[in-house]
């Protein structure tokens, strides 16, 4: 029996990405970590996405609050809006939406950058200059996204709650202290911790997929565009798959 061509390609790609990830762990184990390049990448990733993430987070908090008001009002539960919004943003919507934004911004950036480095032989040039390009380019970027995506998510969560606070104040009057108290009271460790934990995996996936697409992009200028584009698509898909797995695991562990 022969599998359809599309399925064959997908399976081959999953195999290639797994091998690429395995190589990442192998290269991590070898000595000489490119510390300087790692910090440079952290800075670039954070710096480039900060504005976008802030705006997205702010709008998210604002919209969630405005949208949930009518339903909450039906039950006479307007007082619960801050708690409800905080739970939904911190547990689920914040991490996933910000990870998707990062997949679009960071994933495509890495895919295009490494893709064009491949096409213009810069990766070969590094290799003949006594540098392991995989360590220099891939290992540093994957660690940088793994670290920076969680930080961006936390940052966006705060902005988003502030947006929610402003939205509450459009209709009612509440103080920032009271709003904060309501949020802190409702949130438990079992809400925050799994949500925080999974963002590392989001970051890791975005880094690996972006690097894989760029580093293995085929020759030619159209290869660069393709690398950037498919990095976004596959990384976004990975975010949802990881989210699904994370929810299942926290459920099984009884952390809900």
């Amino acid at each position: 029996m022969k599998l359809p061509l599309g399925t064959q390609r997908t399976l081959a790609e999953i195999g290639d990405i797994s091998r690429f990830t395995w190589r990442f762990f192998q290269e991590c184990g070898r000595p000489k970590f490119e510390v300087q390049e790692f910090f440079r990448q952290c800075f670039m990733i954070g710096n480039r996405s900060l504005g976008l993430v802030a705006i997205t987070g702010f709008i998210l908090g604002l919209v969630m609050t405005i949208q949930s008001r009518p339903t909450m009002a039906q039950f006479g539960a307007e007082d619960w809006i801050p708690s409800m919004v905080a739970i939904s943003i911190i547990r689920e919507i914040g991490p996933v939406v910000i990870a998707l934004i990062c997949a679009g911004k960071i994933g495509s950036g890495i895919g295009a950058e490494l893709g064009s480095m491949k096409v213009t032989e810069q990766i070969d040039a590094m290799e003949v200059s006594g540098t392991n390009p995989f360590k220099y380019l891939v290992v540093t970027r994957v660690w940088a996204t793994t670290l920076m995506v969680p930080i961006l998510v936390i940052f966006a969560d705060f902005i988003s709650l502030y947006g929610s606070y402003l939205a509450v104040n459009m209709r009612d009057v509440t103080s920032l202290a009271l709003f904060t108290q309501q949020v802190v009271e409702i949130l438990e460790f079992s809400d925050v911790l799994p949500a925080f934990f999974k963002t590392f995996f989001f970051g890791f996936a975005i880094g690996v997929i972006g690097c894989y697409k760029g580093y293995t992009s085929s020759k030619g200028t159209e290869g660069v565009g393709l690398a950037a584009n498919s990095a976004v698509v596959v990384a976004s898909l990975m975010v949802f798959i990881i989210d699904l797995l994370a929810v299942q695991i926290t459920d099984l562990l009884g952390l809900t």
Binding site: E121, Q122, D124, A125, M126, S129, G130
Partner: protein, 253 residues
């Protein structure tokens, strides 16, 4: 004999030798029993149609590609058997000028030139590094570009910066991948002059890949013809011009 060609080689010491090289990609047999030797101090041009495997040949020599069969001796070392450290060591003595220049887009000209110096783990002080960078830039006539980004430079300037970056380690052997392709005739001439200057000042032995007959005529001491994955013919420019075979004549029309 044409007298425009640079002086002939006095001693015939072989610095680089390729024996029975085979390289294929799937069913695409690019190199089939390829043989070549490079003598000390000479400029050898490898001439071939585009897609004939010229880049593959020099990427095998520098260890970026791995041939299925054959032997490559570079400065009395067999490239194929070298481990990572030995390969890095060899690469400090063999320079490679990439067809697309391969300048690092995210770095300034200075950082581009410093990269091979720092990376090959040579302990040099800040001022020594700076002196070497400036010397390399002066050699290619572009000292004022030191703080510019590669994207601000023209095609010809980028080629010169790439050459400066390769020459900064003062390699004994240079491999040029189509140094004049895509450049206008005047800029090509300038690059050809630089190739001759490198040969004269640093006594470098070079393999120059090309299909630009102007470059061939101007820079070559000897020409080797790559046809169907083999070294089809070799000799001086004048010798090959008189070659009876139509495959050779095609290049010289």
């Amino acid at each position: 004999m044409l007298m425009t060609t640079p002086p002939t080689i006095s001693d015939r010491e072989v610095v680089l030798e390729v024996r029975h090289l085979y390289k294929s990609f799937g069913d695409n047999h690019v190199l089939k029993d390829f043989n070549l030797e490079l003598y000390r101090g000479e400029n050898l041009v490898v001439l071939g149609k585009s897609g004939s495997g010229k880049s593959v040949l020099i990427k095998c020599i520098i260890g970026l590609m791995h041939p299925e069969q054959g032997e490559i001796q570079v400065l009395a070392k067999n490239v194929i058997g070298l481990n990572k450290e030995q390969l890095d060591q060899m690469r400090t003595r063999v320079g490679f000028l990439f067809q697309s220049n391969a300048l690092y887009d995210s770095m300034t000209v200075r950082e581009n030139l410093e990269f091979p110096l720092r990376r090959h783990g040579r302990d040099k002080s800040h001022s020594e590094v700076n002196d070497l960078v400036m010397e390399a830039l002066v050699n290619v006539g572009l000292p004022h570009t030191v703080d510019m980004m590669p994207s601000e430079l023209s095609g010809g300037m980028r080629k010169r910066i790439a050459l400066a970056r390769t020459m900064i380690l003062k390699p004994e052997i240079m491999l040029y991948d189509e140094p004049t392709t895509g450049l206008d005739p005047i800029t090509s001439r300038e690059i050809n002059d630089l190739i001759l200057k490198v040969q004269e000042i640093y006594k470098t032995s070079s393999i120059i890949i090309s299909h630009d007959m102007g470059c061939v005529k101007y820079t070559a001491n000897r020409v080797a013809l790559l046809v169907d994955g083999r070294c089809f013919a070799s000799g001086s420019y004048a010798d090959l011009q008189k070659h009876p075979d139509s495959a050779v004549k095609g290049f010289f029309q």
